[in-house]
């Protein structure tokens, strides 16, 4: 494991060039991510499969900032985004490299600017850094890796939240669940049941 982690870290600069949207995963992994995480949490407190405790705390802080809980609804942390990302990273060396590299960059940059790890930095400092790396217009050689990483962190946090029961409920979207009622021809339903082998 530790050897893989070293490779992953070295791979970050290369992996940072990996275009967003190119998550080299078998889709099956993601399909089961929410489900797998739920099963694991049912057994007790979630123990990260891939990230170190420090990385995981940073990841959770980041997810919380991207989609925070508010008076209306839970946020990305409650919806399981850190677990979701941890689960996917444990299945994909490329994604793992993007996140270990990105989280290290984030900590390094906060230490350089504010003399504290990202999770320990003041909320105002955390926000200031995110506002820099959330926008491509701020792209410089120094911020470039951070901007690439934020794209990934935001994308996967959003994916996790808005496919979770909490996120779906927040929007009133009716996704990812069976419909309560089909206003469709009966034969369509019968046909589906027959094909499923359940009818």
């Amino acid at each position: 494991m530790s050897e893989n982690r070293e490779t992953s870290r070295r791979g970050f600069l290369g992996a940072a060039g990996l275009a967003l949207g190119a998550l080299p995963l078998n889709a099956q992994h993601a399909h089961h991510a929410h489900q797998a995480v739920r099963q694991e949490k049912a057994k007790g407190p979630y123990r990260p499969r891939f990230f170190t405790p420090q990385e995981y705390r940073t990841l959770a802080k980041l997810a919380d900032l991207i989609i925070p809980a508010d008076e209306h609804s839970p946020g990305a942390v409650e919806a399981g985004a850190p677990e979701f990302i941890d689960f996917l990273a444990s299945n994909s060396p490329e994604l793992a490299a993007v996140f270990t590299g990105g989280l290290a960059w984030l900590d390094g940059e906060t230490k350089r600017r504010y003399s504290a790890a990202f999770v320990d930095a003041k909320p105002g400092d955390q926000a200031a850094l995110l506002d820099l790396i959330a926008y491509r217009r701020n792209d410089t050689p120094e911020l470039g890796p951070g901007i690439e990483f934020f794209e990934w962190a935001r994308k996967l946090t959003v994916d996790a939240f808005y496919t979770s029961p909490e996120g779906i409920k927040d929007l009133g979207f009716q996704g990812n669940g069976a419909m309560a009622e089909f206003s469709v021809p009966r034969e369509a339903v019968e046909y589906a049941l027959k094909r499923s082998g359940l009818g």
């Binding site: 275009a19 949207g21 190119a22 995963l25 889709a27 508010d70 929007l171 009716q174 034969e187």
Partner: protein
């Protein structure tokens, strides 16, 4: 072990290949249909927002897989990258039985008469290889009809005063309008436009032994759970298999078209599901792999007589790669539009396909398919912020109160937007991969900006309180609407196939898919690919014995 000789090998089981296989098999030819992917069903993909073929962040649910199918893409600055199949810029369509038709949105457009005569209509466009087709709308009309009735199309284009003449109406009525359509229709009428119900390859009533659409939200990008979406995998391919004359071989990757010493096709070399090299001898070879892979297969079929690739004597194979440039306008409303009624898209206008002042061509405009929430996030305007409370509130406030209007702009083909085979990178089977380069013509972008403005005006008329437009950048087009790389034409020096999709130089090789499109219409191209497949098949069935006799 040598395989038994057959009459025809069809490479690719998508919109074109599926139809050709069925037409030839029903005419009594013995056919082998090779498909690089598997037979994917709705059960394999289930209904999961994260497994959408159009949102590739988690890999392609309908193939090809990321591990074995790299491509090289050269961007405008000349930078080369080797991409996985699910990366943006790869220009994937699909890799499964049915090809793109297993997971498409299923809009079923006939091109307009002028779409076949772009050069005569608009004249030469500097920097573009804009040309007329060697056949007309009237030549294809009976085959459009055949596609509509055999594969199955619902909709009602009677309100489309711009449509080309048709002999028969569509076989199925449109689905009832969803809320977006109900808001957009009167707005279009107030603007003096001519809105109508989009023709869709989707059952609105039970048809051809399959049930009606149950209006779920997982449509474009997904397989249909009740098989109400009509693709080749649930229509013509089963019909082909039923004849007993067609054998479908899945997970088979074609490497090259084999030529005999006289320069005629002898069959196809491929790797089977277990990775074994096989040679399938055949009298005819039909290449139906979609524009990028069809060009790659021809370019990889090198021989003494065709050192630059089969049919490529004059360097036209792989040229003119095009797709569609999709300008979009999005609008926010102070009332709810989301009603969870799939497929979402339902209303269109063709007022801007032609006759736009000072512009060559245009495109239809339609409302968007159901937007999954995480896809909507990508459309959130910068001003809403990219993280934090404001961003979350924007989603909560507007997800259900927004809609988009967009449309495919007919592109000006470019000789230098092209498919080559890469000199270095090979796929899992050792076959040189496709190498893509080029971009969009500036006029295409000009038309796109114009269309974005029209889309925005429609949303404003519909009551949008805030709107914005998105026009794509100058990078290469292709993707699911990829076309143009084996141009059809009368002159062998400036095209690859004749009007019957027959390769000029090798009379027993046919390219039957979007590759042969001279121009790609201002419409989703699949029904035209299907019509061409019926048209070319009819010719093949009549003449194939003559073709064989000449060898």
């Amino acid at each position: 072990m040598a395989l038994e000789r057959v009459n025809a090998v069809v490479v690719g089981s998508g919109a074109g290949g599926g139809i050709v296989a069925k037409e030839l098999a029903q005419a009594g030819l013995r056919v082998v249909l090779l498909e690089r992917g598997s037979w994917v069903t709705a059960y394999d993909c289930r209904k999961d927002d994260l497994r959408n073929q159009r949102t590739t962040v988690l890999g392609n649910a309908f193939g090809p897989d990321d591990e074995r199918h790299p491509r090289v893409v050269v961007d405008e600055s000349g930078r080369e990258r080797t991409l996985r199949a699910s990366e943006p810029g790869y220009h994937n369509n699909a890799g499964c039985v049915g090809g793109g038709t297993a997971s498409y949105g299923a809009m079923a457009w006939r091109f307009m008469e002028k779409d076949f005569r772009m050069r005569s209509t608009y004249g030469a466009v500097p920097g573009s290889t804009l040309e007329d087709w060697p056949l007309s709308y009237a030549d294809l009309e009976p085959y459009y009809e055949k596609a509509e009735w055999e594969i199955g199309v619902s909709g009602d284009d009677a309100g489309n005063v711009f449509r080309a003449p048709r002999r028969r109406p569509l076989p199925m009525p449109p689905l009832p309008p969803n809320r977006e359509c109900q808001v957009l229709r009167p707005a279009a009428l107030r603007l003096g436009l001519h809105p109508f119900d989009i023709p869709m390859l989707r059952n609105s009533v039970p048809y051809n032994g399959r049930p009606a659409c149950m209006r779920c939200r997982w449509c474009v990008g997904f397989a249909c759970e009740v098989d109400a979406k009509c693709g080749t995998q649930n229509t013509v391919i089963p019909a082909a298999l039923k004849t007993g004359n067609c054998e479908l071989r899945c997970d088979c990757v074609a490497g090259q078209v084999l030529l005999d010493e006289r320069g005629r096709a002898a069959g196809v070399a491929y790797f089977d599901a277990r990775g074994r090299y096989r040679e399938q001898p055949a009298d005819l070879v039909v290449v139906s792999c979609a524009a990028i892979e069809s060009a790659r297969l021809l370019l990889n079929s090198r021989s003494r007589l065709f050192p630059k690739g089969l049919g490529n004597r004059h360097d036209w194979v792989g040229r003119n790669l095009q797709g569609h440039t999709y300008p979009r306008a999005a609008g926010l409303f102070d009332f709810e539009l989301y009603d969870d009624q799939g497929p979402g898209a339902g209303i269109a206008v063709c007022d801007y396909n032609h006759g736009n002042p000072g512009l060559a061509g245009g495109g239809m405009l339609a409302n968007e398919f159901i937007r999954l929430p995480y896809q909507f996030v990508a459309q959130v305007p910068r001003s809403a912020g990219r993280w934090g409370r404001g961003h979350k509130e924007f989603m909560r406030k507007w997800y259900r109160r927004s809609m988009s209007v967009m449309g495919p702009v007919q592109e000006m083909p470019m000789f230098d937007s092209r498919v080559e085979v890469d000199p270095v990178v090979k796929d899992h089977w050792g076959i040189p991969v496709a190498r893509l380069s080029g971009g969009k013509h500036p006029h295409t972008l000009e038309v796109a900006r114009y269309m974005a403005g029209k889309a925005e005006a429609w949303l404003k008329e519909a009551g949008a309180i805030h709107t914005w437009t998105v026009v794509p950048g100058p990078g290469l087009s292709g993707g699911q609407h990829q076309a143009g790389t084996c141009r059809m034409g009368g002159d062998p020096r400036t095209s690859v196939v004749n009007r019957y999709c027959q390769v000029h130089d090798v009379d027993n090789v046919f390219v039957i898919d979007g590759s042969v499109h001279v121009t790609n219409g201002g419409f989703n191209p699949v029904l035209t690919i299907m019509a061409l497949a019926y048209y070319a098949s009819a010719h093949l069935v009549k003449t194939w014995k003559g073709t064989r006799m000449r060898s």
